[in-house]
């Protein structure tokens, strides 16, 4: 089944198999290529494995029934994630172009898909690198003793701690006040925070120096950035297992709650996580695989990258939750200690008579003998599960929860530095793919003249992104990052991925695509791949997209604001987005994908005009009476 779209000149745009083999041998110097297979695999793994594996997956796993979450995750991984990966690898390797070039080759009407990828990559890159800037800020601040987020600063007359810090916590204060200096609402811009601007400069400079010569430099950088996270996770796992309470954390993570499987949100979250974890539809993967030699087994690569990505998510969850279990146990002990001190002081018992071990017995005894007094103390009820439940995802996990855990570990500076270096590596390797997804289409669209060197184009892209990303260094910057994260990096990607399926399977044709894969890997794609590509994966994408839009449309979108004047402070205040922000959200969702229909219509009109004008124009140099036989047709005749 093939969509009949007008597609003249197809043979001219896509080199045939024979021409490809010739190109391999002759034009080897022109297009950049990988030094070896390891570099390619490490780059793809680094691109896919990002911050989401560390701070989104453990949270999802724990909040959707622990071990039971693995079932929808693995099912959707096999049916949705790996087929999508295989598709992008195969089409990039076959057509030897970046995202815009690939879709333009298949059919010029589909160029909009590539342009949409370009815009999404550009927008996502801006806020993603701002998160890098925050990580760098924390990294820079880890080189001091004691860690700045372990203590509250004193107030003006040195009689006590600053009120905002005393009411919330030291880590909250450091994140919301000393790092972000966040304003109370998204309307309140708050001015540029110069220290975050400096961190942003550092983030973009580090990215520029790594991407300055394209995959030549990133290919070397990924040896470190893609392998370092695994090393650090292992160190954290070993250290975590030696700390008290870590086993409780791991047990809590994996305790299966099979009832969660009935909840559709679980499946939606699993589908969304699989999709976003693989960095599909950004255009970076297509670019990376286009630098491969033509006879490369892309099927094996896709399966390998998919499995490694999921295994990394799982491994990271174990490490993270070992540390979080330790943190929960520490908080639980602190809670008990506070109660013990209150009881000891009130009842004038010798100190250290009540300990953590015999607290239960003492509490029973005192409650029986003088319940009124015990009640008047307003003791906090300490439950380990409540503390274990206080997990978070996203920036909250890294900068608040984990930072707090690190303070409690002996030798905090080392652990803090290791943790933030790991986050930096994870994010940096994802940014490499992002930048590739922006630069390659610019190249393909011939937006810059040929004489401009690549280093300058990269520099200009980094500079422009930096200037626009200054929005995120305002007082309200954190809220804007949430806006971008929630809306740019979600719906447009799903739509682009859907059109990728349509473009490859239905416009290029399943038969032609299968022949491509036979030529590249030497064997026909099995019925599993065909079934997934044609029916199962697009259906799942559609389901995730529709479910997501429905859930978003059910309520007016709101955000969590940090407002010290809020009555329930230190809880975050739930505020609705003002109308102008809502309009911007809609723009962010719609504008990237708008290019798909716009370019489609534009190209159709262009072709209609060209074909109508060709009839009236007579080219004195071209006599249609004599058709020049192309080499192709000669070969076919012979």
């Amino acid at each position: 089944m093939k969509l009949k779209l007008p597609n003249p000149g197809l043979e001219g745009r896509i080199p045939s198999h024979g021409e490809l083999e010739k190109m391999e041998k002759e034009e080897a110097g022109d297009r950049p290529k990988w030094d070896n297979k390891t570099q390619y695999l490490l780059t793809c793994i680094g691109f896919c494995v990002g911050l989401g594996n560390v701070w989104r997956f453990p949270y999802l796993c724990q909040s959707h029934g622990g071990g039971a979450f693995m079932i929808p995750f693995l099912i959707l991984l096999v049916l949705e994630g790996i087929p999508l990966l295989h598709l992008e690898f195969a089409i990039g390797q076959r057509l030897r172009k970046g995202s815009v070039g690939v879709w333009r080759s298949i059919n010029p009407c589909l160029t909009g898909v590539g342009i949409a990828s370009l815009m999404v990559s550009f927008l996502v890159g801006m806020y993603y690198n701002t998160i890098m800037a925050w990580i760098m800020w924390y990294l820079f601040n880890s080189f001091q003793n004691p860690l700045p987020w372990s203590q509250c600063p004193l107030n003006a007359n040195r009689t006590g701690l600053i009120e905002e810090c005393a009411r919330s916590s030291t880590v909250d204060y450091f994140w919301y006040r000393e790092t972000l200096n966040t304003s109370e609402a998204i309307d309140d811009a708050g001015g540029l925070q110069w220290w975050i601007v400096l961190a942003l400069v550092a983030a973009w400079s580090v990215l520029y120096v790594c991407c300055i010569r394209g995959i030549e430099t990133t290919g070397k950088a990924v040896y470190i950035t893609s392998t370092l996270p695994y090393l650090v996770l292992t160190i954290f796992l070993i250290r975590g297992l030696t700390l008290k309470g870590s086993i409780e954390g791991i047990k809590f993570l994996f305790t299966p709650d099979v009832n969660e499987l009935m909840n559709p949100t679980t499946w939606l979250d699993a589908g969304a996580q699989v999709f976003y974890a693989f960095s599909i539809a950004w255009g970076g993967l297509i670019s990376f695989s286009s630098y491969n030699p033509i006879q490369n087994n892309c099927e094996r690569d896709a399966v390998l990258v998919g499995i490694i990505n999921s295994a990394t998510s799982l491994y990271a969850s174990i490490s993270i939750f070992a540390i979080l279990g330790f943190k929960a146990t520490t908080s639980f002990n602190n809670c008990l200690q506070a109660n013990i001190i209150a009881l000891t002081n009130h009842f004038e018992l010798p100190d250290q008579n009540i300990t953590v071990e015999n607290y239960g017995q003492w509490f029973e005894y005192l409650n029986q003998t003088s319940p009124g007094e015990v009640a008047s103390l307003h003791l906090r009820h300490c439950d380990l599960n409540t503390f274990l439940d206080q997990s978070a995802s996203g920036t909250g996990l890294a900068f608040i929860v984990f930072a707090e855990a690190v303070i409690a570990m002996p030798g905090s500076q080392v652990w803090a530095i290791l943790f933030f270096v790991m986050l930096l590596s994870l994010g940096l390797s994802s940014m490499f793919g992002n930048i590739e997804g922006v630069l390659n289409p610019i190249h393909d669209l011939n937006l810059v003249p040929k004489w401009v060197p690549n280093q300058l184009v990269t520099g200009i892209v980094c500079l422009v992104s930096f200037l626009v990303a200054l929005i995120f260094t305002l007082g309200s910057g954190n809220y804007w990052v949430e806006v971008f994260n929630g809306y740019v990096g979600s719906v447009p990607l799903l739509i682009i991925a859907f059109f990728e399926f349509v473009g490859v399977i239905y416009v290029r044709g399943m038969k032609t695509f299968s022949e491509d894969i036979v030529f590249m890997t030497g064997k026909e794609p099995s019925i599993f791949w065909k079934a997934c590509w044609m029916v199962i994966s697009p259906l799942m994408l559609m389901a995730v997209l529709i479910a997501y839009v429905i859930i978003q449309a059910q309520q007016h979108p709101n955000y969590f604001a940090w407002n010290p004047l809020y009555e329930l402070f230190p809880q975050t205040e739930v505020k609705p987005y003002p109308d102008w922000v809502f309009a911007i959200i809609l723009l962010l969702c719609v504008v990237p994908v708008l290019s798909i229909p716009l370019v489609f219509v534009y190209k159709l009109i262009q072709r209609r005009l060209r074909s109508s004008s060709a009839r009236t124009e007579l080219n004195p140099y071209c006599n249609d009476g004599f058709e020049v036989e192309t080499r192709e047709q000669k070969k076919r005749r012979a």
């Binding site: 820079f140 400069v201 400079s205 520029y208 120096v209 300055i212 002081n345 100190d351 250290q352 280093q455």
Partner: protein, 218 residues
């Protein structure tokens, strides 16, 4: 005589007890957590330790108010508990029935807090004077924030990296251009060689075609 002195003693101790009572207006409650602070090396709290406390407090008062000779007997302690907490009041050396003001006592304790703590091997947290919050130590803030130093190091490394990479690219381009010029020169030479075909001169002269037929015959 004996009865008089006994009566005075009882009277003074009774008076002292009246001066010192829990929630006394000019008194403070003290709480010690010796086992929390010292663990295995904790000492037992007994009369002698209490004597040391009263002596230390007398020292603190002397330190604050110069001229007045506070004695151990001026520090009156009551309401001792197994917690190791008690109340104390300070009487003026000139008039033993008159208590020293609360603010004076607080100032004295604040001034000599460190000495009092170290006499008992305790800290601000484990030797508490309820109602006198300890002056918090200011956090050490270095002149240059450390993060700025690390930032400078990173930016320096990145800047050096950028310069090296750009220089490398320029050098490489120049080398490629020189290489291309050399290649082109070699190509031209070979081309010139190939146009020189000396074999064309060797052959048999074909008589059928001669110059006689320049003028066509009519």
């Amino acid at each position: 005589m004996l009865e008089k002195s006994l009566f005075l003693l009882c009277f003074s101790s009774a008076l002292a007890k009246q001066l010192c009572a829990p929630d006394a207006s000019d008194g403070y409650k003290v709480r010690l957590s010796i086992r929390t602070a010292l663990g295995d090396q904790a000492y037992a709290w007994n009369e002698d330790e209490l004597f040391l406390f009263r002596a230390t407090l007398a020292f603190a008062m002397r330190n604050r108010i110069s001229g007045q000779q506070f004695e151990v007997s001026n520090i009156i302690v009551c309401d001792e508990t197994p917690r190791v907490s008690f109340w104390f009041v300070v009487t003026s050396p000139s008039n033993t029935s008159h208590l020293v003001d609360k603010e004076e006592v607080e100032e004295a304790i604040r001034k000599s807090r460190n000495r009092i703590n170290s006499a008992f091997l305790l800290t601000d947290k484990t030797l508490e004077f309820l109602g006198i919050p300890p002056t918090l130590a200011a956090p050490v803030s270095p002149d240059t924030p450390p993060w700025l130093i690390v930032f400078g190091v990173v930016m320096g490394a990145v800047g050096a990296g950028i310069v090296v990479m750009l220089a490398f690219s320029v050098v490489q381009k120049k080398r490629k251009k020189d290489g291309k010029v050399v290649d082109e020169a070699v190509e031209e030479e070979t081309r010139a060689k190939t146009t020189d075909n000396g074999a064309a001169g060797d052959g048999v002269y074909n008589m059928s075609f001669s110059d006689d037929e320049r003028f066509t015959e009519m």
